[in-house]
């Protein structure tokens, strides 16, 4: 890979990966905050309001970093990927501009209201501002996923005379069926992050023996949400996403599974290292015929392996793709186990005293982030060597006028800047967690960001 292409790819990969650590929590917490506000309203219980305010403070810090790291992504379509923008701007400009017009304004306007305006609004109006923040953040997710889905499965376009693509059907673009399943899978992943964050901090409070009243609320809310969404993550959303890939990107599926040879009754690799040079899996643990069954619901079904496709169509980094995919699936399975056991203990009334389980819940916080990141790596590495699947190669997309040196300079700049942002974020969130939810609201309202 030539160095300019590598630099521009790393540039986008780094900035988008760091960015997405924050929106996934924003989108995951937004519905949970609505739940807490609803409970406060229905039970007329100030504890739930304080719990909601506590999460609003974390949400606010998180949101700021999400916003400031999101702006560079929009810019990079022009700065680093100008040839791609020239090619596809006539189509994906639609979804990106709609995100600004419909989602960002809604979200930012009402978040200001939600964080700063509680005293100026009636409880019901404040509840509505929480709902508006939720809608805004989830709408924004849809437009971004629809953009990516179009790159995975381009629809509703026509070729123009200059070689670029232009919109031919608005509804095909917006209602792309790839977008529906990818969105459902992605949002359920974000909800898992939100649920684990809530459960983890709740477990911390119970283990600490302080703010236990809030800890119980957080765990109850988080475990129920976590159970629902980790199951949805597997079925139907993950399953349907996988079937779309099997049908429309068969070479990607083969690479994800590191299936080098085609044949009937393809096995599923649980553990093993792909050895691309020798076209085999080292030290594999296999479930025979499982891949055929999962993909086509028949044990003997033929699954096309990598050997069925010319090598220039293979994703370039098969090993990384394979690991990302297997880490995502493995973690997803573990999340289901953790959440189902927690729900069972909660139902028996034993969870709040089961210290071993509280430890597990507290320490599980980083893993949904890893799973979500690995999931996106699977989607994006799997699409290679295409930027727009089947239409436009990644190698043709970057800005030819921006030298690799300039791109590396700004990449390093972003790395430095984001390190500082990350440290600040951890520091501020740690302080909020230690200050706890039980603070005088008026004083603390001022501390709230934004």
């Amino acid at each position: 890979m030539d160095s300019a292409l590598l630099m521009h790819r790393l540039h986008f990969a780094f900035t988008v990966t760091f960015h997405y650590l924050f929106p996934q929590l924003t989108m995951g917490l937004a519905p949970l905050m609505v739940v807490l506000k609803t409970m406060a309203l229905r039970r007329n219980d100030e504890t739930y309001n304080k719990a909601a305010r506590f999460w609003a403070r974390i949400f606010g810090i998180n949101f700021v970093i999400g916003v400031v790291t999101g702006i560079p992504l929009e810019f990079q379509f022009g700065t680093n990927w100008s040839h791609f923008s020239r090619f596809a701007g006539g189509v994906i400009g639609q979804t990106l501009a709609m995100e600004g017009m419909f989602a960002f304004f809604l979200e930012s306007a009402f978040l200001g209201l939600f964080l700063y305006g509680e005293k100026r609004l009636s409880p019901r109006a404040h509840w509505w501002s929480a709902v508006a923040v939720f809608l805004g953040s989830w709408l924004s997710g849809y437009f971004i996923v629809a953009t990516d889905a179009w790159m995975q499965y381009p629809v509703g376009y026509a070729r123009a005379a200059d070689g670029s693509v232009q919109l031919s059907s608005f509804w095909a673009l917006v209602l792309n069926r790839w977008a529906w399943w990818q969105y459902a899978h992605n949002m359920s992943g974000a909800a898992i992050t939100g649920a684990f964050a809530m459960v983890s901090i709740g477990a911390f409070y119970l283990l600490w023996g302080k703010y236990a009243e809030y800890g119980r609320i957080f765990i109850k809310t988080g475990v129920m949400a976590g159970c629902i969404f980790s199951l949805l993550q597997l079925f139907p959303t993950g399953d349907r996403q996988g079937r779309l890939i099997a049908r429309y990107q068969p070479v990607t599926l083969a690479a994800m599974e590191a299936l080098f040879t085609s044949g009937p009754g393809a096995p599923l690799v649980i553990i093993g290292q792909p050895n691309v040079e020798e076209r085999k899996i080292d030290n594999p643990i296999l479930v025979p015929k499982m891949l055929s069954f999962l993909t086509y619901q028949r044990w003997e079904a033929d699954v096309r392996g990598l050997d069925a496709f010319p090598q220039e169509l293979w994703p370039q980094n098969i090993s990384l793709l394979y690991y990302s995919y297997h880490i995502m699936v493995g973690l997803g399975t573990i999340f289901i186990a953790i959440m189902v056991i927690s729900l069972f203990l909660l139902w028996c009334g034993k969870l709040f005293n089961a210290r071993w389980m509280l430890w597990i819940l507290m320490l599980s916080l980083p893993f949904p982030y890893i799973a979500n990141t690995a999931g996106w790596m699977t989607a994006e590495l799997g699409r290679q060597p295409w930027l727009v699947y089947g239409l436009f190669r990644t190698a043709d997309g970057y800005s030819k006028t921006v030298s690799p040196g300039n791109a590396m300079f700004t990449l390093l700049g972003f790395m430095g800047m984001y390190t500082v942002l990350g440290i600040l974020f951890l520091f501020l969130v740690r302080r909020e967690i230690e200050n706890g939810p039980d603070l005088d609201s008026a004083v603390h309202g001022q501390v709230t960001s934004r």
Partner: protein, 346 residues
Amino acid sequence: METLWFIIVAVMLTAYVVLDGFDLGAGVIYPFIARTSDDRRRVLRAIGPVWDGNEVWLLAAGGTLYFAFPQLYASGFSGFYLPLMMVLWLLMLRGIGIEFRTHMEHPVWQGFFDAVFSLSSVLLTIFFGAALGNVVRGVPLRQDGYFFEPLWTNFKLGTHPGILDWYTVMAGLVALVTLTAHGALYVAIKTEGELSARARSVAVVAWPVQFFLTCVSLVATYFACHRMFYNYGRHPVGLVVPVLVFGSLAVMVLATPKGKEKLAFIASSLYIAGMLVGAVFGLYPLVLPASTDPAYSLTIYNSAAGHHGLVVGFAWWILGAALTLAYFIFIYRIFRGKVKLEGEGY
């Protein structure tokens, strides 16, 4: 249809400059007028609930530009690579300066974040002015529609100028002074007592400089890029723009010392709108003139997206704009009035 989208993008950018302009300006004057810790909190709280919403106009205008004129977005953004990256870093620093200051109770760190907020605001106003200066002056576009500009060369105009030359530096200064006055008037409206009086006096002091630089920029534009005036000759209706600009300046100089900050703020907004409209009226139908060969210039016709997309986009854009207008009116009504520190919290 292309003309319509040209107008829409111009309107969105104007909305951005008018709205985010006042919080940028508040950042510029912040270290000079906010002397006590209470003052600083008042200024920050005056912009706190709205600055992020204002900044979304930049994102939304960028998104709309991308949608309507993808070729322009591709050439312009890759050509202005380094300055745009700096704008991104400054926007980031400014955002955390405003937000995270309130989370730090330590006076030293508060001082640090104050400095970050203020310095990044100053630099951003200059950058935005210089950016407009670059677009008006033209960039060294090649035949393939791309270019790459160094940060500066010899500060002279020519076929291969730098991002910074005397013309764009001047444009940056115009933006700095204009937004300083704009932000000062906003702070004067939103605060009381001495703080408000100090903000007003900044606006009073800024006025002669603003008037002088406005005249200078007009003359400089006439000499640097004569083509900016062709449209005015062809369509005399454009002459309302200078009337608007100088009329607004007149209202500002009359209203500010009398304490009619609201009137002066509206005039300042109209002044900004007038300057920007004046620039795009002169540019039309160009969107990025070439300093190399006029034939390489990007126009609304050779940089626009396909016709169907533009038509469909207009339908949803109207809906989105109506919703946005409703939110903004609602939010500014909720947070209307002077900023109070005690009792009435956020």
